[in-house]
Structure formats: structure tokens, C-alpha cells
Symmetry: C2
Subunit: 247 residues, 2 copies
């Protein structure tokens, strides 16, 4: 069943408009009486469609969905701005894997040049991808792509745990730091994960982040592409915290 995130006031009125209405009528080809999931980012409801037009769908709420779909911790991804459209891939899969928010971060080795006037449209596109991925993966919350900051402008003080993904850590013998941190997380912890762009983290960035309390951590013996590192981190957190083993 397809899920749609809509503003609270439209949920109260029982209406879906704009792109989502088009999606229901023309992409999903729904009929009157079909069921959809509708969420205001707080609660999710199982709803029945009562009328259909390309730009306006009305529905009535049948019952509230229960069960938590969110990671038990808040993971903020500070992704060194990568080449091409990799940032979109990172957001798409990162949302499915439970990230709380994303900061495409301009680091020394980012090839990307920020044009201020294009920033808003970039962010709008990123947030559209996030919303679609949240609907597809049945998230209760739409992760935000908050800003495209420079590394030095970010305030990391609110985070409980700070991880710097650092492939060189493996050469220095680290296979401990990542799992030690992840296995010690508690519900509602706020975690900052910094991942360098393709060329990695610059030495001055490394020193700066360590001075802020970041722990450099290896993600195993193989060298991961920048986008793969995000998937590894989030999958591991889910595996550690959401899955259980039978005794």
C-alpha cells in the first residue's frame, strides 16, 4: 500500500492535492474505495479513497497504524559533498535505512562548487527525494536535508556520539572503534557521522574533527566508496539495535 506524507491541516480536511494527487490517480491508478496510508509525520492512518481527480483526492480515515518504523537513535549524516548525482543516491537509500537528517557538507576535497543561488533548488530537490524514499520505505518521519554547510560552520555540540569514518584507521589497526560505539548506543541518542567525499578527509579536517571529540573509525578491511560508507553505517546500526537474536 502506498504511503503519502501531507500537512496536518490537509489530513484534518481529508484531502490530498498537487503531485501526490497526480501520483494516486495517474501513477498508482487508484480507484474509489482503494486504501492508502496517509501520514502527517506524527501519526499514520489507513485511509479509503472517496473521490479522485488529477489534482484533488479525498479520503476518509479508517484506523490509525501502529508500530514504530523509526531507528531508536537519531543519526545525522554529514556527507562530504560527492561528485555527480551520488548525493541523491545517498539520500534515497539512507532514508530507507533510517537516517534522521542529512547535511551535504562541503569539504576540502569536494569537487563540487556551491553556487549560492542554486542552493535552494538543490535542497528542494534533495528533500523531494527524501520524501519519496520515506513514503516508499514506510517511514513515519521524513528526514530533512537541512543545509549545504561548510564543515567548519557546523555546530556538533549537541551530539552524544561523534563518528568520523576513516579508512586509514584500518591500517592503524582499528577494527574496534565503530562497533564499540554502535553497541553502546542508547535509545534517543544523537549521533553525528562524518564521511569524506571521494578524495577522503583532509589532514586539517581530520585534526579539527578529532579536536571536537570525533572518533576515527574503520568500517572493515575493504575500502568503501563514499556512498557505500553511509549504507554500511546505517545498516549496522539497524542490525545492532533493531534486530534481535533468539537465545
Amino acid at each position: 500500500m502506498q504511503k503519502y506524507f501531507i500537512p496536518k491541516e490537509k489530513l484534518k480536511l481529508g484531502i490530498i492535492d498537487t503531485d501526490d494527487a497526480f501520483h494516486i490517480t495517474s501513477v498508482m491508478r487508484c480507484h474509489i474505495g482503494d486504501e492508502i496510508l496517509v501520514s502527517d509525520c506524527e501519526n499514520t492512518y489507513n485511509c479509503k479513497i472517496t473521490s479522485l481527480k488529477n489534482d484533488l483526492v479525498t479520503f476518509e480515515i479508517m484506523y490509525q497504524e501502529i508500530g514504530n518504523k523509526e531507528l531508536p537513535v537519531f543519526v545525522s549524516i554529514f556527507q562530504g559533498y560527492p561528485k555527480g548525482d551520488k548525493m541523491e543516491e545517498i539520500i534515497k537509500h539512507g532514508v530507507e535505512l533510517g537516517a534522521y537528517e542529512f547535511y551535504p557538507t562541503i569539504m576540502k576535497r569536494s569537487v563540487f562548487k556551491l553556487e549560492e543561488k542554486k542552493k535552494e533548488s538543490k535542497l528542494a530537490r534533495f528533500n523531494k527525494i527524501s520524501k519519496e524514499a520515506a513514503e516508499q520505505s514506510f517511514r513515519q518521519y521524513v528526514p530533512q536535508v537541512c543545509d549545504i554547510p561548510y564543515l567548519k560552520t557546523i555546530d556538533f555540540s549537541k551530539y552524544d556520539k561523534k563518528i568520523l569514518c576513516f579508512e586509514e584507521a584500518y591500517k592503524n589497526g582499528d577494527l574496534y572503534n565503530f562497533k564499540t560505539i554502535i553497541s553502546s548506543l542508547k535509545k534517543d541518542d544523537k549521533i553525528a557521522i562524518v564521511i569524506g567525499p571521494e578524495g577522503g578527509i583532509d589532514k586539517t579536517e581530520y585534526d579539527y574533527l578529532l579536536s571536537l571529540g570525533f572518533i576515527p573509525a574503520s568500517l572493515g578491511p575493504r575500502i568503501l566508496r563514499t556512498e557505500t560508507a553511509v549504507f554500511y553505517c546505517l545498516s549496522s546500526i539497524s542490525y545492532e539495535m533493531e534486530l534481535k537474536k533468539s537465545e
Copy 2:
């Protein structure tokens, strides 16, 4: 340092030709005296370039690289053939994350239609992507994309553990099966992981796989895209088996 996989006989002769020679000269723009890693899929050597042409590079071996970069278990991915070029994305990141081999498998809900005459060229392309990803991630072994089989023609009898990724398992209360299996793996175990295409596993395929001893397993409360499921499985296996925590 860039890594190249070459046949054993060329390693003995100290030569690299074809695409790899072009890559060294024209993409990496190496010079005489630069170091590269060369592997015959068994051992990896740190080598120095002794001469350079676009179609022939010669090198001498300096010393053998040590340290294992391979997952301690053999993970075979039976991926329901997905739409578009997702299979390439799965191979690319799956190789980085340590998969042992891939079978792009034609399942009932695969939209893909196999044209026999295109099979060889598809497999050649998949294996090229695998080789490049293995070089990039410093694997010691190039995972093979072995065949494009139909599900019913596959012999699963050699596997120690058989996992069917199945999102419906979560609705039935399963958050246990995946972690219970992964946390019980032993070194050199052979694991078959079956993942459905976009539309998921068909009921008859589900029954068939269960009759072969497959365990249906949820990968957490969020619905993952077919390509994301592979990343989740492999990352979790690495996290469980390769990373350690300090006591």
C-alpha cells in the same frame, strides 16, 4: 594506490596489457617508478612500474602485501533481476561490501526478459564492473557473476545457511531470523541470500524456497528497495564478523 587484477602468467612475466595498461598510462597518468598493487586473485604484490606504453606496462615486484581483506564467509547473492541498471549498482557496491559471487536470477516478478544471445555480453559487462569494484575496494578476489539463471534451475544444496529476505516476515513478527543466523556463522560457511526483484517474491517461489530449507527473514521495520537489501545484508555480516568491540 591503484590495484589491478591480472592473470597469473602475466604476473610471472611482469606485464600488464589491454584496458589496464590504458588505465595506468592515460587515466591514472602513472610514471616510471610509480607503485601499483598487482594481484593474480591469490596473492597481492606491491610493484614498481619499469616501462609504460598505452598498451603495455611492465613492472617489477617489490614485496607481497599481507593482511586479509575478504569476508570470513562466502556469501552468494541470488538477486531477483531488477529493473534498469540496478543490477550494476548492486554488483558495484556488493563487491565493495564483500560478496563472494552474484547470480542475477530471473524470478516471476522480474520485468526483465532474457534474450539468450545477449546473455554473454550482459555477463561480460557485469564481470567487468565486478573487477573494477574489486580493484577499487582492494579485494583479494574478484567476485564472479556466474550466470543469469531461472530460480528453479539453481542447485542450493551446497550452502550451509540459506536466507530469504522477506519484508512480510516483519509483519508476522520476525525481527529474529536474520540476526540469529548471521551471529551463528562460522568461518568459511557458505551462505545463500535470495532477494526478490521490485515486486518481491511470488507465493509459489516462497513455498519452493522454504521447501529447500530457506529461512524467511526481515531486515527491520522499514521496507527496503531490492538493491538496498543487498547492502544491508552484507554490511551486517561485516559488522558482525569483521568488527570487534573493546570490552
